[in-house]
Symmetry: none
Subunit: 158 residues, 2 copies
Amino acid sequence: MSAKLTRQNKIKELLNSKLVSSHEELVKLLKEEDIIATQATLSRDFAELGVIRTFTDKGAKYILNSEESGKQIAKLIGFEILSVEYNESMIVIRTLAGRAQGIAHYVDRLNRVEILGTVAGDDTVLVIPNTHQNISAVVGLIKRMMVEQSGTKNKLNL
Amino acid sequence: MSAKLTRQNKIKELLNSKLVSSHEELVKLLKEEDIIATQATLSRDFAELGVIRTFTDKGAKYILNSEESGKQIAKLIGFEILSVEYNESMIVIRTLAGRAQGIAHYVDRLNRVEILGTVAGDDTVLVIPNTHQNISAVVGLIKRMMVEQSGTKNKLNL
DNA sequence: AGGTTTTATGAATAAATATACAAAAAGACT
DNA sequence: AGTCTTTTTGTATATTTATTCATAAAACCT
């Protein structure tokens, strides 16, 4: 495994397990694991990994992008989307009985600004786009998402 | 509305509609709307609003993380509302898992003509306003209702 | 209203992050 | 092996963001 990959994997691990508030802090944590890197390198790593900075009561906190972690969840769910339809103000996803909650949860975890929220029943998910968003763009987003995750493009009528 | 609230609302609006890559950039955008503020103020606003920084192919991008900022205020509210957001045709109330039904029931019981009905999932309530109703008026109604319940008006960013 | 406390803000500056540039390391291909 | 190309990294520095300290504004009392 390349040095870069080793380091980035360790970074993911550390971000998931510790509260990291600055690049320099992470430099030290890495050093404890015998991985030497400078702040500049971490700055680049953060961009590549899509690390995001959030605010906590204790100041900044760097975490891995939720879209990434969301994708991990998705694999566990296993989508069975039957259809994705929409009118001018919302999108309706049809799925198998009992799957809607999981799909809605996944969509939520994507944390996309384009999406205001979701409501899930048993076999239907309602996706509410944000104001100012072109709804077909959001539909595209969802379809791409689902296809990516399910790998069953052909089965779907997308 | 206080100057701070006006500004923060405009910030939310701008972050949802434009790609903002730095504080200074937002200073200028705000100035175009006749809102004068310095970078220092925006730094504080970002922390309060729970704005997060993500990476795009075009560099940094600041976006709202309603879930995060919502959590900060959640404890202050009896219902545990995380956020109240809306687009041009409906309102989405986020809450903790299992609370949505109770909140929807409460909204129903208000028996307001402005509200056509509600749909509740597990952690999300959809409020459908009556035709021709000004949606922000209905949002105001809901927020006031929540504040009445919690009695913590000033602390909330609602 | 006037006095007191709390909250909000700006200017200056400290602290943190991103980047330009040069050099080293790693591959790729004879 | 050697040469060329690409990728990765560090140093130094530019840029950006957070904070300190002082002041102003707002809220809160009698």
